[in-house]
Amino acid sequence: MKQIFTRPESLKDVATHFCPGCHHGSVHRLVAEILDDLGIRSQTIGVASVGCSVFLYGYFDVDVIEAPHGRAPAVATGAKRARPDRIIFTYQGDGDLAAIGMSEIIHAANRGEDITVIFVNNTTYGMTGGQMAPTTLPGQKTSTSPYGRDTAKDGSPFKMAELLATLDGVAFSARVALNNPKNVLNARKQIKTAFRYQVEKKGFSFVEALASCPTNWGMSALDANQRVTDEMIPCFPLAVYKNSANL
């Protein structure tokens, strides 16, 4: 019988801790497939962040450095400068990257560090229990915005893919989603392009993945997928915001 679906070599054969319907697993799989596709698994070092993404080393079959909360781009900078022959990627959530780690991501991007950043935006702090994130939508209720995010007091959601695309140091910036097969295929394509930028030493590459968090949103997996379409994508449009080398 012909095998048509298998686990990527870059992923370990273990069950994840992710909740049913969570898109982290999908993003993990896509990144692992790309590492396999490009044949770079043996050169790759992952940088884990703090939050649901912390167990990166438990799922990816690559060497991993665990960074303090928000600092993954700085840790990746140090690793890349010390080992420019390696492929270094960070994998960060929205609280990690766009709140406590805003300084590190902006400056690593602005220096044009030859790293790839995978940013998973699910509009909430997943691991700590659904608090308000810098990407929480206006009016969205969370455990720390029980009356809904008030943009007059809490500000509006950060649009990281657009923001980073304005920096000269950024070579590639895109936003993708994983809530339907078409979006998954596109996500795969953009993640692959992002890693190709690094393989070809063409500069900083960034992919923002809109992801669902059914548990903290209090929704079924299918409803959560629908919310990505109905509420998130209108606020965070899917697009390639920068592709400076047309890869």
Partner: protein, 360 residues
């Protein structure tokens, strides 16, 4: 004489740190400007790229320490430097490095605090340095140079000790030692047998074991086991790596104890006291962690009076008290840091005279 004089170089303490780092094979430096240590990044921004190394002026002290973490995780020798306000920001990263058993050298050229304080010499970061500084319960190796030569030698030693014990190492000096110039013999890197860094992240071929540099321990008993392992390592450090200098302690009726710049000033005060017929010695710890407890205990078996002098209201005195025999006493003289508070040898001589035991 002339030949020996030619080999020496006349440099600032901060420059000696930078030169020693290069000689020790430091490949990466990450820092952020702050007085009184900016000579270090200035020197390395010029010299590291010429030698194929990497220099980054980071976006913040937090950025810098985490770059150090990342570089160190790949196995290269790397360094950062700062002063009080910046060292406080680095504590997060230092805690993660300690938790991840990562080597790395951190230079602290102490200035007055708390807060923005001032740029004058201080020893008030003794507690922060020797107690670990960040959260979670850990220690780092702390070396306290008292001359420009020691700035050079102890920086190299910090790289070696840090690699051997997989504990971050700090060179703890102040603006006196950082800014003063002295002749230095630029010693070659010592030949030290270093353990292979089998734990580094490196990218791996199929079948090779996965290496993870992390400080997260969630399994039952894992974290506790880590703490006991590190406690044993600190004990080993204390057994093998304590360093100190004694001056004229053999017949001393009073032993002055001080570290770094203050010990230098005290040396001249002690010479004045000896000239005046007082039997006074000096005990200068060079390793502040591990603290040379046994050496203090041995001294206190014979000499029952110590005079601890610090540029603070008294921090190292805690360790001195814990180390000496129960029937020995410690007097204290402190000048909290700030403009105009650097003591002179004449002033310390007066303190020695005042505290010198009358029975002697």
């Amino acid at each position: 004489m002339q030949a020996a004089a030619l080999e020496k170089i006349f440099v600032k303490g901060n420059e000696a740190v930078a030169m020693a780092a290069l000689e020790a094979g430091c490949r990466c430096y990450f820092g952020y400007p702050i007085t009184p240590q900016s000579d270090i990044p200035e020197y390395l921004s010029r010299e590291l790229p010429r030698r194929g190394g990497e220099f980054i002026q980071a976006e913040s002290e937090i950025g810098a320490i985490n770059m150090l973490l990342g570089a160190s995780a790949t196995g290269v020798r790397a360094m950062t430097s700062s002063s009080g306000p910046g060292i406080s920001l680095k504590q997060e990263g230092i805690s993660y490095m300690a938790g991840s058993e990562l080597p790395g050298v951190i230079v602290d050229i102490m200035r007055a605090g708390p807060g923005l304080g001032g740029i004058d010499a201080s020893q008030a970061d003794y507690w922060q340095a020797t107690r670990g500084g960040g959260h979670g319960g850990y220690r780092i190796i702390v070396l306290a140079p008292a001359s420009v030569q020691e700035m050079y030698d102890l920086t190299m030693m910090a790289f070696d000790l840090s690699d051997i014990y997989r504990i971050p190492a700090m060179v703890l000096a102040d603006s006196v030692i950082g800014q003063m110039k002295e002749s230095v013999i630029p010693n070659p890197r010592p030949v030290t047998v270093l353990p292979p860094k089998e734990w580094v992240v490196r990218g791996r071929e199929a079948g090779e074991a996965q290496n993870v540099v992390k400080s997260l321990y969630l399994g039952d008993g894992e974290m506790e086991k880590f703490h006991w392992k590190m406690a044993a390592r600190y004990e080993e450090l204390a057994e093998k790596e304590c360093r100190w200098e004694e001056v004229q302690t053999a017949d001393a009726e009073l032993i002055v104890t001080a570290f770094g710049s203050v010990a230098r000033i005290a040396k001249t005060a002690i010479a004045m006291a000896r000239e005046a017929g007082m039997k006074v010695g000096l005990m200068r710890p060079i390793t502040l962690f591990p603290f040379p407890k046994k050496a203090y205990a041995a001294l206190s078996e014979r000499c029952k009076l110590f005079l601890d002098i610090e540029l603070s209201t008294g921090q190292m005195i805690d360790d001195v008290r814990l180390a000496i025999a129960r029937d020995a006493e410690v007097a204290f003289y402190g000048r909290p840091p700030g403009a105009g508070s650097l003591p002179t040898p004449e002033e310390l001589f007066e303190q020695i005279r005042k505290n010198y035991p009358t029975h002697a």
